[in-house]
Symmetry: C2
Subunit: 231 residues, 2 copies
DNA sequence: CGACGTGCGAACGATTCCGTACATATGTCG
DNA sequence: CGACATATGTACGGAATCGTTCGCACGTCG
């Protein structure tokens, strides 16, 4: 079951998976931070100065096109870390990263992390594994956006969101969902009504409640399953 | 100009960019290999055993869905290296990697590369930079496939292909192009005829000739430019 | 209570793309 | 040359989505 993560103890799963001495070494250079809904971690072309190991809440990386339209590329919750490529090499962002649900994270200076990572294979491998999974998700999303219908992608998105949240309520307007999926609000509306009629979700005025995960999973494309378990 | 790479001296650009001692150390553990058109480097779920620094020709990573449909996710020529994530951490492929144009590469055992990379920051950074660029391309393609029309994506694909090839002729059937773009052959046909009428390309029986790059660039979406210069 | 802003429902034509079917052209091989 | 497989041209109905417009419902706040 993919909602496994929802039942795991709180806090970042990557940090949790480390050996105690690796974990202590990482936490020694980490600063706890809070982030609010809508908070921006970085804009396209910003230099990535920090890694953020998410402890609660989650954020999305969003591609911004010249005409202002947006599409989400990846979603990052407490299964992962924001800015993972900077764990290997200094670089600048290609996307905007925005908090979808307020929460907390451990912020680590990217350069100090690279130093630590060179000394501690356990740290390097845990973050490296996550980077490999993230690349797999990107590849799957590339195919998904080319081949799958808006309804399937919508269901997938809700599930991935639900996986990373406490409770069954999501605060998302259809307008906002459209900007994540790269489609029109009217298209999202049709998809949402379909899921509501199927009893999978209920929603009103920017508040979506997941009523039946199994129904959502039936409506989603294979990409939800193959996105890699958030663990 | 993006076709810059076409005028650079032959051989892999990453290896070329290394300091002489780094380059020598890398070449000492590399094996020259040839690959034929259609040759498969790996299938989904295969363990990535090697990095392949492409010297000539190029290959594509292709997502394969449950129903057998395919979409290209990234294109890798002599500007890059196949299996770049394995330079950081052992992992398995999420895609199929196929040679689009026969050529040669330097094959390096992934595990030995990781050892070398830990000893030589110059090697690690060159490959790391490429990994960052590759991630940017994946993110851009994710958005592109969600938002841009088949005609624009077709033109983009031809340009990216042209960048990585000697001469102006590409051996590609419309059927095959459709499997790269994730669309129908009839859709590709319409796009191809549009470009032909504009004088941008000529084609017949699986042979496409680029006649007017500027016209192709006008027909392509912004994603071609933003894919990151192959250099 | 009433005005207003926000979010949703619904309808519309236009466009893109799908999926399929069939015809035509071209290269290869016996 | 003739048969055949391959590649392309074309047509068409239908589905999905776009882009827009209008109206309604609900919550908030003066």
């Amino acid at each position: 079951m993919r909602e496994l993560m929802r039942s795991l103890p709180p806090g970042n799963r990557l940090i949790h998976s480390l050996e105690p001495d690796d974990r202590d070494a990482l936490l020694a250079i980490a600063t706890p931070v809070e982030f609010a809904l809508g908070g921006v971690f970085h804009e396209p072309d910003d230099v990535i100065e920090h890694l953020h190991f998410i402890d609660s809440g989650f954020c999305s990386s969003v591609a911004v096109l010249e005409d202002g339209r947006t599409v989400e590329t990846v979603m990052i919750g407490r299964e992962g870390v924001l800015g993972v490529v900077a764990s290997v090499v200094p670089h600048h962002a290609h996307t905007r990263s925005v908090a979808q649900v307020a929460g907390t994270a451990r912020r680590v200076d990217a350069s100090r992390f690279r130093t630590l990572s060179a000394q501690r294979p356990g740290v390097r491998d845990a973050v490296g594994d996550y980077m490999a999974r993230l690349q797999g998700e990107l590849e799957q999303s590339t195919a998904c956006n080319a081949l799958h219908h808006a309804g399937q992608r919508f269901a997938k998105w809700l599930l991935r969101c639900h996986d990373r949240v406490e409770g069954d309520t999501l605060n998302l307007t259809q307008e906002y969902l459209a900007s994540m999926l790269g489609s029109q609000r009217t298209t999202v509306n049709e998809a949402a009504q379909g899921l509501q009629k199927a009893g999978a979700i209920a929603y009103s005025r920017g508040r979506i409640t997941v009523l039946d995960r199994a129904a959502l999973e039936r409506a989603a494309c294979e990409c939800y399953r193959r996105g890699g378990d958030p663990l």
